[in-house]
């Protein structure tokens, strides 16, 4: 028998190959497709897709629409999620873990089914089909609120009480204690929550289709349409590149999100 010389380091080889083949290479293919075009079966290098995107009013208005939906949804999630996370983290209830669970449990239930349940409810109260724009935002908040609450709760719970006591002992009123101590210390949670909500709100077209009655076009849907309906993979790739630049800029502006996303997905709760 041949003795296989085995080292712990080598265990990362299959994973490294997997990442190279199924993550890095496909991303490079998007870049290649975005700056090329297929004319009469031959591929040519071009900036046409890029120029087309920024000169097409339809595409630019989709971009604007996506931003509006995402910004409003993220703001509402933050405005609802922060007080909830604060109340839960500061409460002295013995069972606050179970209470937290009630708020974030939806993230483990299939979102298509949840969004459809919401669709039925909106239908019952006669909003479906009449308020596509509003319904889309309600849907994004409904879908992504748990992803805002969890990272906020995690940072607020770790907050050292002695800082808050020190601040009020030194004469800070409740508002100053909050704005000068609590809020700055909870910024990592705020940033992590924003990145968890903002990007999916720009791209998750299942929500906008199901609740906006297929009348709302956001960036994710536009990419989908170029791949399925129009069969123009080059333009679809270009829109993806633009989306990637937006994601990169948001990460840059907020200082990145590091490992917090696994936490925000509730990894440590299982």
């Amino acid at each position: 028998m041949i003795k296989v010389h085995f080292s712990r380091k080598q265990l990362c080889i299959p994973y490294a190959l997997f990442l190279a083949l199924f993550v890095v290479f496909p991303m490079l293919m998007i870049l290649f497709y975005a700056f090329t075009d297929t004319v009469d079966g031959s591929i040519t290098f071009t900036f046409a897709n890029f120029i087309n995107f920024f000169t097409s009013t339809a595409k630019l208005s989709t971009l604007l629409m996506s931003f509006t939906v995402a910004i409003i949804s993220t703001a509402i999630c933050l405005l609802i999620g922060y007080p909830i996370a604060y109340i839960l983290a500061r409460s002295k209830l013995r069972r606050r873990n179970v209470l937290l669970m009630l708020f974030i449990m939806p993230m483990w239930i299939n979102f298509v089914l949840r969004i459809n349940a919401l669709r039925d409810l909106l239908d019952v109260i006669n909003l479906l089909g009449t308020q596509n724009y509003l319904n889309t935002i309600i849907g994004m908040v409904y879908d992504f609120l748990p992803f805002m609450i969890l990272p906020l709760y995690t940072t607020l719970e770790k907050l050292d009480n002695s800082y808050l006591e020190a601040a009020s002992d030194l004469g800070g009123n409740k508002f100053t204690v909050f704005s000068k101590v609590t809020l700055p210390l909870s910024m990592p949670g705020v940033i992590s929550g924003i990145t968890m909500v903002f990007m999916p709100s720009m791209t998750n077209y299942v929500v906008s289709d199901t609740l906006g009655n297929f009348n709302i076009t956001i960036l994710g849907k536009l990419i989908n349409e170029y791949f399925t309906t129009y069969d123009n993979w080059h333009m679809g790739s270009m829109i993806s590149i633009i989306l990637l630049v937006i994601i990169f800029l948001t990460l840059l502006a907020t200082g990145g999100l590091k490992d917090s996303k696994t936490e925000a997905r509730g990894a440590n709760l299982w």
Partner: protein, 266 residues
């Protein structure tokens, strides 16, 4: 006092917002009308009967579950090995691997989906079971790596060396010493993978074989084609899934809470 009432009111309103649609669906899964009409309620188990006799939906349920288990198992093996490899590698190798691991985590799902469509159509394997499984593994594996790595960092590095000194082979030391110590991380990576796979729509829609459907793609297409109202049995399916998931999550957490308490009282 006012603050307390306000806090409770806010929590209650948000909980109503979260659970009202779920409750509506669960209640009206016991009503046999095609479209929910809140002005009347005819109690019956018809939808459940229809559901269990609908072989198409049963097949889809089966598809969804085996896909999630297969993808999660493969991701857990690949990701655990990857995390161990990364942990013991030099910075020069570990850093870029960790950085690339973040790409599918941060990326928009639609971009991951189309990148795989481009790759697999190049080698004529687009919309096959292979592209589907790989698609789900791309979503899940980085999360396994990210949940196993912290456990490796918490581990006492001397135990592995001690096992070797006491005569264990490297693979024995790995399976009998390292794996048990990081097992909670592996398990949470697996559970996370199962839920990510069950939850997925976009990557599935772009990588699945044409005739294959999961719950997500089936329900989305039913709404798109307007056939959802002709299959009210979907209400019963949703109700069952909601109740199973809520029960499972509460059970796991109540048990975990109890364990923590026992540990604390010791």
């Amino acid at each position: 006092m006012v603050k307390k009432i306000l806090s409770i009111a806010l929590c209650a309103i948000v909980l109503v917002f979260i659970y009202a649609p779920i409750l509506l669906l669960v209640v009206y899964s016991f009503d046999n009308s095609k479209i929910i009409d809140v002005s009347k309620f005819n109690f019956s188990f018809d939808l459940y009967r229809q559901l269990f006799h609908n072989s198409e939906i049963m097949q889809i349920l089966f598809n969804t579950v085996w896909l999630a288990l297969a993808a999660a198992t493969l991701s857990t093996v690949l990701g655990t090995a990857g995390a161990i490899g990364i942990f013991y590698s030099k910075r020069k190798i570990a850093k870029p691997l960790q950085a690339v691991s973040q790409i599918p985590v941060i990326n928009a799902e639609i971009v991951t989906a189309i990148s795989l469509a481009l790759l697999f159509s190049m080698v004529f394997l687009y919309r096959t079971y292979l592209s589907l499984i790989v698609g789900h593994m791309v979503l899940c594996t980085p999360f396994v790596v990210l949940s196993v790595l912290p456990k490796l960092k918490q581990m006492d590095p001397n135990t592995y060396e001690a096992a070797l000194d006491l005569g264990a082979s490297p693979s024995q030391a790995l399976f009998k010493v390292v794996i048990p110590q990081i097992f909670t991380g592996i398990l949470s990576g697996f559970m996370l993978s199962v839920t990510l796979s069950l939850d997925d729509y976009i990557v599935t829609a772009f990588t699945k074989p044409k005739a294959f459907d999961t719950i997500s793609t089936y329900v989305y297409n039913a709404v798109k084609n307007g056939t959802n109202s002709s299959t009210p049995a979907l209400r019963a399916l949703s109700a069952i899934i909601f109740i199973i998931m809520i029960a499972a999550v509460l059970l796991i957490n109540l048990r975990a809470g109890k364990k923590k308490k026992e540990a604390a009282s010791r």
